[in-house]
Amino acid sequence: MSYITYQQAAKQAIIEEMRSDHRVFVMGEDIQVYAYADVMEEFGPERIRNTPISEIGFFGAGIGAALTGMRPIIEGGFSTFLYSAMDQVVNQAAKSRYMFGGQASVQLVIRLNVSYATSSAAHHSDRPWGLFAQVPGLKIIVPSTPYDAKGLLKSAMRDGNPVLCFDDSTLLSSSGEVPDRDYTIPLGAAEIKRAGTDLTIVTLAATVGHSLTAAQMLAGDGISVEVLDVRTVVPLDRRTILDSVTRTGRLVVVDVAPRMCGFASEVAATVAEEAFQHLKAPILRITAPDVPVPFSPDLERLMYPTPERIHAAVRKLYMKWGRSARRDLDLYHDSGERQLPDGNASSLP
């Protein structure tokens, strides 16, 4: 056990895997002098490979290497650079195995820095896990703790399929206990971070922590909240989500990504389909609004769910739809014009 950061834990996963399997190598821009400078001596420039600014080229090269028996890891930089290599990711990485009738294995991990809340503006701030979840053939992991960062990344590397690993930049320097030994966390297994009986919050990445804080605050209000970290968007652990909502009867989904067709929509739709009869309240999505990310911190700070916003929104929901609430009451819905992450507004245009 060591007490290390999320970033260190992820790197530990990669380094251990490189040591135990010579087919693992890493490609990315400037990684030799930066992220992997300390292990250059051990692995050398062939396995820690600097690339030009050629996302199509080196993402595609990762696919080609994977097809021929290597296990590349691509350090893709910011999540918004993914779009430059989108054809390689969507048409090649995700589809090759299927199109070629199972002949191909694209054992490839693409790591992306999901940076936001840093005044980097719209070109460096996307949270596109929902977008890529629309692409059959990709797996998607979104670790929320150092422990998960290592365990999920190891599973991703061994999975045999293309996996996008989105690292929430607000968590990179957070620390936690991480086993020094080899361990994995299965892809598709959500974790119940806190048990509760009145309401289920389903979330991922940094909002796991925010939701736990909010749950603590809500406990003070007498509301018992279960918090569920999905950990992987694809595959999504629908079973655990449904079981939880079956018990609590109420669902709130929290996500820093835009709302429209996002992760929160998928969770909401799944529950509205498959646990409807257990629902005692409307489902609530607490997400970022559907706008590009502004530079100004005065604007950007309005965008994301915070413990306070989650607390307020859940509390409000529960006040109207709690144990004794009358179902026919039509008070809940303000028809606000815009969706702010206080869960408090409709998204009517």
Partner: protein, 344 residues
């Protein structure tokens, strides 16, 4: 007008090196001829089948380009890699894949080389080093770079041959791939099948250089222009690039001037293409049909006699017939296959 190549093109390449592999053995000459015939007979058969609505989807045939396809692939070892594009049938055939599973794939049958899931544009036969064809122009160029990189990292001396069309030479993946392969000195041979057109667009209209191979200078790598109708010129030109790659000399950009007789694609129903090339141009290229040229060469050089040519021809025709029979008799994929192969 896209003109048939003059002889000097081929010379440019053959001058490069005089290694032993450059002169194909008699057996290899036979095999070249056989594979060229296979490509043509396979596609003529498929062409007929689709006209009769017996095949789903569409076909991009390469009839007329057999010398380029086969000459290039025959310069490879069996364990070398190859990537292709939408004009797809010739590549795996030339790489030595047997016809039956390829034909079954065109039928979308469970016995197809991709279990019926890829179809005409996405043939692949990994066991033969064929890493796939692609419906997205240019998309496998970086994948070929990755195969070359993989060979290097695994410390083998495999080479990857990357087919692409003249139309692909203007897309981003071309540039990034050539630069990457060049700076990393990877064993990749970029082979442009320049058939003069991207769909209905003549190369001159879309491309800022007269010859794709001129772009080699932007990557500091050798460029060569080959007579794409002369299978031996292609063979030796590509072999020079392959040997260079295998010895650690890095990538080359080889342009093979060739022509497709058929339309961009074929489907059931009348093609009714717009007029975008002249009868005269087509005739000029047909006059240098790669199979007839090679047959004539084989006979005049006394490498293979007329009888042997006839024997190979009828063997190939029989192979194609068997492939069609195999495909027709094969079962459709089981519905459960819809959900298979998404993930391992």
């Amino acid at each position: 007008m896209h003109a048939p190549p003059r002889r000097e093109f081929a010379d440019m390449a053959t001058r490069v090196t005089g290694a032993e592999e450059m002169i194909p053995s008699r057996a290899k000459l036979c095999e070249m001829f056989r594979r060229m015939l296979r490509v043509r007979a396979f596609e003529e058969s498929a062409s007929k089948l689709i006209a009769e609505a017996k095949l789903p989807g569409v076909l991009h045939n390469c009839i007329g380009q057999e010398a380029t396809v086969v000459g290039a692939c025959m310069a490879l070892r069996d364990d070398d890699y190859m990537t292709g594009n939408h004009r797809s049938h010739g590549h795996p055939i030339a790489k030595g894949v047997s016809l039956a599973p390829l034909m079954a794939e065109l039928f979308g049958k469970s016995t197809g080389v991709c279990r019926g899931k890829g179809g005409s544009m996405h043939l692949a036969a990994f066991a033969a080093g064929s890493l796939g064809e692609s419906g997205i122009v240019g998309s496998l160029m970086p994948v070929a770079v990755g195969a070359g990189l993989s060979a290097r990292l695994r410390d083998t001396d495999q080479v990857c041959l990357c087919f692409f069309g003249d139309g692909a030479a203007n897309c981003g993946p071309f540039h990034e791939s050539l630069n990457l392969a060049a700076i990393w000195k990877l064993p990749v041979v970029f082979l442009c099948e320049n058939n003069g057109y991207a769909l209905y667009t003549p190369q001159a209209q879309s491309t800022s250089v007269a010859h794709i191979a001129q772009r080699a200078s932007a990557y500091g790598i050798p460029g060569a222009i080959l007579d794409g109708q002369d299978v031996l010129a292609v063979y030796s030109g590509v072999m020079a690039a392959v040997l260079r790659a295998r010895e650690g000399g890095g990538p080359s950009l080889v342009e093979s001037k060739t022509y497709r007789y058929c339309e961009h694609y074929e489907a059931g129903g009348p093609a009714n293409p717009p007029i975008y090339r002249s009868e005269h141009e087509i005739a000029a290229w047909r006059a240098r049909d790669p199979i007839r040229l090679f047959a004539a060469h084989l006979q005049s050089s006394a490498a293979i006699g007329e009888r042997e040519i006839e024997a190979i021809t009828s063997e190939v025709l029989a192979e194609v017939d068997e492939a069609v029979a195999f495909a027709e008799q094969s079962a459709a994929p089981n519905p459960s296959a819809l959900f298979e192969d998404v993930f391992t």
